[in-house]
């Protein structure tokens, strides 16, 4: 396996875990975002940190996004004291938004040998709507600006 393949494999394994902890049947883009933030890979970590993001801030923003989106239709998410879901024993499959992130970042762009961890982050940050853009906005992150810096890092190293 190439270093990038190893990185991608490690991220997807982490994303599996995030999805399971979330009680989700599928890996979605937010699970990939949490996974790249947790993965000890310096370039991606530094990019995220430059925007004030790490696993904890991302998780917090995702939680707030959930609460806010429910409250917009008059539902208080803390009205139910739900137990943590029992975990699925099997691996979750890749969901639609997870696939989109991979297609945009990894499979659709660079030649395979040019792929770097930042490409995956760029794919995640290419989300135009949904949970991730909303959570990033809640965290005070300028998504466009961060994506531009990720692109810059990719071209700089070519």
């Amino acid at each position: 396996m190439s270093p990038f393949d190893e990185y991608l494999h490690a991220v997807i394994m982490r994303a599996h875990q995030e999805a399971r902890d979330d009680g989700a049947e599928r890996i979605e883009v937010q699970h990939l975002l949490l996974a790249v933030a947790a993965e000890p890979e310096p370039t991606v970590r530094e990019l995220l940190e430059s925007a004030g993001l790490d696993v904890d801030t991302i998780r917090g923003a995702l939680d707030r996004e959930f609460v806010q989106s429910l409250s917009a239709v008059g539902v208080a998410s803390d009205a139910y004291d739900l137990p943590r879901p029992s975990r699925l024993p099997s691996r979750p499959k890749m969901g639609t938004t997870g696939k989109l992130a991979l297609e945009r970042g990894v499979f659709g762009t660079a030649r395979k040998k040019d792929l770097r961890p930042a490409h995956l982050l760029l794919g995640i940050l290419s989300a135009q709507a949904g949970v991730v853009p909303r959570a990033l906005a809640i965290a005070g992150v300028d998504q466009e600006d961060l994506a531009a810096r990720v692109r810059h890092t990719i071209t700089e190293k070519d």
Binding site: E65, L70, A72, Y80, L82, S86, R87, L88, P89, G130
Partner: protein, 74 residues
């Protein structure tokens, strides 16, 4: 009654969040029912779905969680 949020992004995000909340509630409620000795047919009827659907969605998880499942009618 609150109205549909005026921003489409908020309205669509509310749909996603409600589905997630409903899924979580379903996981908890089905587990609770099966621990209380309900059978698949009754749980399925209560949810308004087929027995196959509820089994497919929850059996693996509940077996892994050590819930004793009834085989027959309930």
């Amino acid at each position: 009654m609150s109205e549909v949020p005026t921003d489409p992004a908020d309205a669509l995000a509310a749909v996603v969040a409600l589905r997630r909340l409903a899924d979580r509630l379903e996981d908890a409620a089905v587990e609770q029912a099966m621990r209380a000795g309900w059978g698949w047919p009754k749980v399925a009827e209560a949810l308004g779905v087929t027995r196959q659907a509820v089994y497919k969605k929850h059996a693996q998880r509940l077996i892994a969680a050590g819930v004793r499942l009834r085989r027959r009618e309930g």
